[in-house]
Symmetry: C2
Subunit: 258 residues, 2 copies
């Protein structure tokens, strides 16, 4: 498959027939501030002809990409929820991340040219597809996009460092508390309540992400409920005492949001 990216036409007016609809729609996207490709819709930097940014719908349970797929795109989540899972030949696999609206997905393929993980929608979702080749063909006028891209990668690396720290040093209870705090903060950053939210993933998936068995996840949920820190009904989570919850985590795992 070949990817065609046209040279930039800096003085082309916006909304000419050349500009794909998918691009102009970015203007109305509610994720303007967190979304990577938004800079693309600035009139002075709109490439032409090719769907540099396209849309794609993924139904719950379906894959956005799978390990081994040829890498040529990055994805920002427009709506919905994803998990990435990395599997090893002997059957063991692990959830390596949960991703929500506005977050960047697919960077795991940059170095090898091949995706390293499966990416599964946990609910009906929609993503914006960004041709990676475009990232490499940026000229000076596209600095902001490039910088955003680098930051997204840096953020992802910081996130994974946090996960490593979690997996390397924390008890099961601390892990779950850190997990809930992380979700809470991410929901808050998107304008949702940090105290009440609905989990999109199963106990299995949480356990896989946190490096414990799902029975342990369940036990730790029960423990936090007993201690009056949270209230749980199935996937509905109500945080009753946020400071107690962060106290459960020996240390603060605030994502270094820039």
């Amino acid at each position: 498959m070949t990817i065609i990216v046209q040279p930039l036409h800096l003085d082309r007016p916006r909304n000419t027939p050349d500009v794909p609809k998918s691009l102009t729609r970015c203007l109305n996207c509610g994720l303007w501030d967190v979304c990577l490709p938004c800079d693309l819709v600035q009139p002075e930097s709109v490439p032409t002809h090719e769907p540099v940014v396209a849309r794609r719908r993924v139904k719950a349970g379906n894959l956005l990409f799978r390990a081994g797929d040829e890498f040529h795109s990055l994805y920002t989540i427009r709506s919905g929820f994803f998990k990435t899972t990395q599997c090893v030949e002997d059957g063991r696999d692990q959830v390596t991340g949960f991703y929500m609206a506005g977050e960047l997905l697919g960077m795991d393929g940059i170095s090898t040219g091949m995706h390293a993980a499966d990416s599964t929608a946990l609910e009906n979702s929609e993503v914006c597809v960004i041709q990676y080749s475009m990232m490499e063909n940026l000229n000076g006028a596209m600095h902001r996009l490039q910088r955003q891209f680098h930051r997204a990668m840096g953020r992802e690396m910081a996130r994974m460092q946090g996960v490593a720290l979690l997996l390397g040093t924390m008890t099961a209870e601390e892990r779950l508390a850190a997990f809930l705090l992380d979700l809470s903060q991410r929901f808050a950053a998107r304008g949702y309540s940090p105290m009440n939210f609905v989990l999109r993933m199963t106990r299995q998936e949480i356990g896989s992400y946190l490096g414990v068995k799902f029975e342990t996840v369940s036990r730790m949920f029960s423990k936090l409920v007993e201690d009056g820190v949270i209230k749980v009904r199935q996937k509905e989570i109500h945080i009753l005492d946020l400071s107690a919850l962060s106290h459960c985590v020996g240390h603060d795992f605030g994502r270094p949001d820039d």
Copy 2:
């Protein structure tokens, strides 16, 4: 602090007084093929006046950068050995990576503009310092460098995913086996023996990296010795049976579910 990067002079001959000595020395660097800034010494892409690539020596035990430092440079290791450690206020901290000659260090600060981890030399080392601002001011002629940079980041992310998998799913013995195999391969890639090498880090540091206590590291070393897989004398490692070692990593303990 201001960082000045001059515009490129595409036709400037090499080795004019304008070109810093540190740059021209890149030509003789034994790490030509793995090193990021090497493209800079191509005659058609040598910036002038500013030490875009400088050298820096770090003695064993000293820090290259520390958590909280302002981020403005990336580092490629010219010789020596480093560890990065992420620390948390309550005393717990963790080794998040070991880095050897030719590898890129310091990307943890890109998103926040601040380094997230300490970086300590495990032996007397020398690094090449690359101004990050340069990465952002690249023009079309610098594609190769940019691509190399992105790949380095992708590689680092893949590495951390591997660490997460290790910490999330493996037993202590498997972790140590995986650790030794990783080192073995990296030494091999640099022309050293994959069967005999000297560890630059302590059991403590290995344990911290692998998410187990140092006594457990010691026990697992002993176990591998008992099983005739390796020979150990202090930090000297001799791999006796490489395939047995890799078999340790995949060894399934009967995985019914998951």
